[in-house]
Each structure stands twice: as structure tokens, then as C-alpha cells.
Symmetry: C2
Subunit: 190 residues, 2 copies
């Protein structure tokens, strides 16, 4: 009896995510979103709720995708080379000044908005936990020194994404990012 949804909510969500990603939450208007998603206002409110709810879903979508990325890198034989490729891939896949939605959101909203902070925190915890597992394995295989603390290193590595994205936004110089990545990776091995 009923008409089917003509659009794929997941696909449209990614459009919204990309726009938030580029402009930030506050600087993105519903008007912008309608145009970018090529959806009517009513359809958006119907499917996702209000702007805030839509943004939360974008964050979750992003978090899921990022974590999937990480786990893919874990399939390498050596845990150290898994860590290496997680960092290198971030630099390699960067899109001109778009940095990372999680990092951007952390600085724009997380300090003021508890709901957003919770989502970003959770993603951070999961990422750090993946990194820590890799570091512990690497330590057992003598790929990194025994005296290092895997928890601290994992926190440092996760936080280093913020470093990389900052420099990308400011200078957009790939060679600079590469040498920073070199140093970051060197620092966990020595």
C-alpha cells in the first residue's frame, strides 16, 4: 500500500557527514544540508530528527568507519607495521584541509556539550584500545622496548592524529606531515 523510501538514508547521511566535516557543526545550516543531501527539509527531519540528532548520527557513522579502518590495518603480520600503516594511511588519505571530524568536533563542541563529548570519548577509547593491543603484542615480539608503557604510547599515538591534522590545516605540506609521522613512529621504538 505504501510508497518505498526513494533514497538510501545511509548514503544521504554520508553526504551530511561530509558537509559537517568540512564546515563544522555551527557553521553548517539546515539549508546547506538540504542542498548537499538533495533532500527536502521535511524528509531530513522525518528520517533523522533535528540538526543535533543528525549530527550525532554523522559522528557515529564516522566513528564506525574509522574503527573499521583501524581493524583492517591490524591484519598485518607484524603489530608494529600495523601501527605504522594506521598512521601512514591517515596522512596518505587526507583530503585537502579537511582534517578529522572527531578532532574538529572535539575542539568545537566536546568541551561544552556533554552528549557530543560522550560520543567522541567513546570513539577515542576504542581507538586507543586497539592501539594498545597492538603495542602490547609488539612489545612481546620485541618490536618495541620492554620499558615502554603501552597505555601511554597508545594515548600518545591517538593524540598524535590531532598533531598531524593541525599541521595539515595550517601548512598543508605533505612532506612536513611525513617527517612528523617518521618522528612519531620512531619515538615508540626507541
Amino acid at each position: 500500500m505504501a510508497r518505498n523510501k526513494a533514497f538510501d538514508p545511509e548514503e544521504k547521511l554520508e553526504k551530511a557527514r561530509d558537509l559537517f566535516w568540512e564546515k563544522g557543526y555551527n557553521a553548517t545550516s539546515m539549508q546547506d544540508l538540504c542542498e548537499e543531501m538533495k533532500l527536502n527539509r521535511a524528509s531530513i527531519y522525518d528520517t533523522y530528527g533535528d540538526k543535533y540528532a543528525l549530527f550525532q548520527q554523522c559522528l557515529q557513522n564516522y566513528a564506525k568507519e574509522k574503527l573499521f579502518d583501524y581493524k583492517q590495518c591490524c591484519e598485518k603480520v607484524s603489530p608494529l607495521s600495523a601501527i605504522d600503516s594506521i598512521i601512514r594511511r591517515a596522512v596518505h588519505n587526507r583530503k585537502e584541509g579537511k582534517s578529522c571530524l572527531m578532532v574538529k568536533t572535539s575542539f568545537e563542541l566536546a568541551s561544552m556539550d556533554e552528549g557530543i563529548r560522550h560520543i567522541v570519548q567513546e570513539q577515542a577509547r576504542q581507538s586507543i584500545s586497539v592501539l594498545q593491543e597492538l603495542l602490547e603484542k609488539a612489545q612481546k615480539m620485541n618490536e618495541i622496548p620492554a620499558e615502554k608503557d603501552p597505555a601511554t604510547l597508545a594515548q600518545f599515538l591517538y593524540a598524535s592524529f590531532s598533531s598531524i591534522w593541525l599541521m595539515d590545516v595550517l601548512f598543508g605540506d605533505k612532506a612536513m606531515l611525513d617527517s612528523m609521522a617518521d618522528h612519531i613512529l620512531y619515538s615508540i621504538r626507541h
Copy 2:
């Protein structure tokens, strides 16, 4: 013949800066600013120009103060301990989840707004240059290994502030920040 200004523009500018610092540019309204600065709208527009111009002046003010902070640390005898205190001081003086105005602004505005990016870039260049000088001195005094590249280390150190503030916003755990600072400083010496 004329009445004198009853308020200190510099002092009021700092009030504005602190509010922008806390809430970010887009989330701060002129109404908020009037209340925080305890000034009339007209007085603000008269003294600083519009919201955007006011924000730029806040950024400049912040940049000047930060750079002064850095230079103060340089008076230490050992360049390495100067670097140490620059990092430690940042962690020690942090204000509950307020992170750093420069880093926040970089992620909120710098990728979209060329004028803002220019200001933040300039401050970054100056900070990196101070750090690089210290690193070169440290290298000559054998405080850090000869094979390290001071330019890369300086970029890494500057970017590391972003790491520290990210983790501060997300977890607000001083011990975590301290151990991260330990690792960052260790990494430039080994």
C-alpha cells in the same frame, strides 16, 4: 573638551578573548559579548569594529601573550630545560577544558577562512622558530642527539600542543597529560 574612555580597551578585549576561547567563534553571540565585557553594543562596535574584527584582535592578543610566555621560558640556562618548561607550563597552567585558543580556532575556522588562517599560521611560525632555535642550541650543547633535525622536532613539538589539548578536552586527566609530556620530551632526546 572630550570625555575620556571610561574603560580599558585592552582589558575588555581580554574578556572577549576569554569568552571566544571558551565557546568558540560561531557559538559566541554579540549579546554574550556585551554581557561578558559589560559594554554596550555601540561601544564594542565603536572600539573594535564588527564581530569578526573583534575576534581577530582577540587572536592577536592571545598570540602576543603566548609568545611572551615562550620567550620567558627561554631565559633558562639550558635550552633543553627551556623546552621542558614550555611544555610543562602548558600542562600546568591549563584551565579546565579550555584548551588553547589557537588550536581551537585552527580547527574551527582556519580551514575555511583565509584571514584567520593567516593569523594562526603566523603565530605557529613564530612559535616553531623559537622552539627550533632552542633545539639548535641544545644540539650544539649535546643535550639532544646530533642526527635529529631541529626543524622537524620544532614542528613536532608545536603540534604536540594540539595532542595535549585534545586529550585534556576528552579526558581531563592531568596524570595522563603528564605522562604524555614525558614521552614527548623523551622523544626529542633519544
